[in-house]
Symmetry: C5
Subunit: 88 residues, 5 copies
């Protein structure tokens, strides 16, 4: 799983119907210490995350291992809003 | 999921039959702000996208979570034509 | 999906039996304009491709969405010999 | 599979319920010789690993091939605490 | 699939039980011409490969398409010992 900061939202009216009903967020990759990286992902939101928040993303078939995300036709899903990261 | 700009189309007569009937588009990777990146993907089109358009692509097994894309033997599918990206 | 140019072939007698019967080709990554890139892939051939040809490769579980490739224990399969790429 | 060194832990109260009960560790990528690399992964722990330990991570659908990890909605799981690496 | 050279072996007593019985090898990425690259993978061995040998690795769900590898909880498996690579 990867960490990211929500930086925006994507809007599309002409899309696969199964994508309707999910907020599609633009998430900037980030280091555990908060440093923003170059990459980004468009992820389906399942925890009502908002712009500026640090989130945890799951990719691949693991996104279909929860009841809530089982049918999302997305390769990356936001599964948690991060409260705290403790570094050893 | 990733964003891209459609830059071309691929033609192949000698191919797996299951690929017939799908438009195969060349999609340049791009940043959410529109900057084009170095990578590209060949993606099966499901939303009648055209050259120059900004699209949303899904990769991996998630491409088989919609009725329309269920049987496409492609690892990346265009699932939406992007109307707007709002940055926080 | 990704484009590549076939540059060689791999031979192995001590291998998983299920791999027998498939030609294993070395494919150099390339840009849509024909520029060769640094990466490469070893891909199982399903369209009788030969050295020097430009091909289309599918990776991941999508390789098992066609009758012909359904049981190939390969993570990347050549699914088409490319005739033409038109750039917008 | 990849090697990593556990460097921290992630805490989240607002998350998918299925993630509850798993320790989510921050793991820094590393070379087999112990050199730390730039990347990192957030991985669900299944072997009671702790900060500072060298661990082995499995990604993708393979994470669901063990009884213990079968239902973890995580794309990366820590499956072993490394005792020793012998270089040829 | 990717080529690599076996450079070491990993030992772990505290691990998922399903991993027992498989030799876990450290494999350095390499070019088809034999040049060693920077990356590496830890792969489960199914063809009795040894240090110094050039091997072929399969990643992802394709690792479960053979009888022998069907239940290995590993995301990468060594499926062949390479005899020869002919370049066009």
């Amino acid at each position: 799983m990867r960490l990211g900061k929500v930086i925006g939202e994507l809007w599309a009216t002409r899309k696969q119907e199964d994508l309707s009903g999910f907020k599609l967020l633009i998430v900037r990759d980030m280091e555990p210490d908060g440093t923003e990286l170059k990459g980004y992902t468009v992820a389906a939101d399942t925890v009502d995350a908002g712009v500026g928040e640090v989130v945890l993303m799951v990719s691949g078939s693991a996104t279909r291992q929860t009841d809530a995300t089982g049918l999302i036709p997305s390769d990356t899903v936001i599964v948690a809003r991060v409260d705290k990261i403790t570094m050893g």
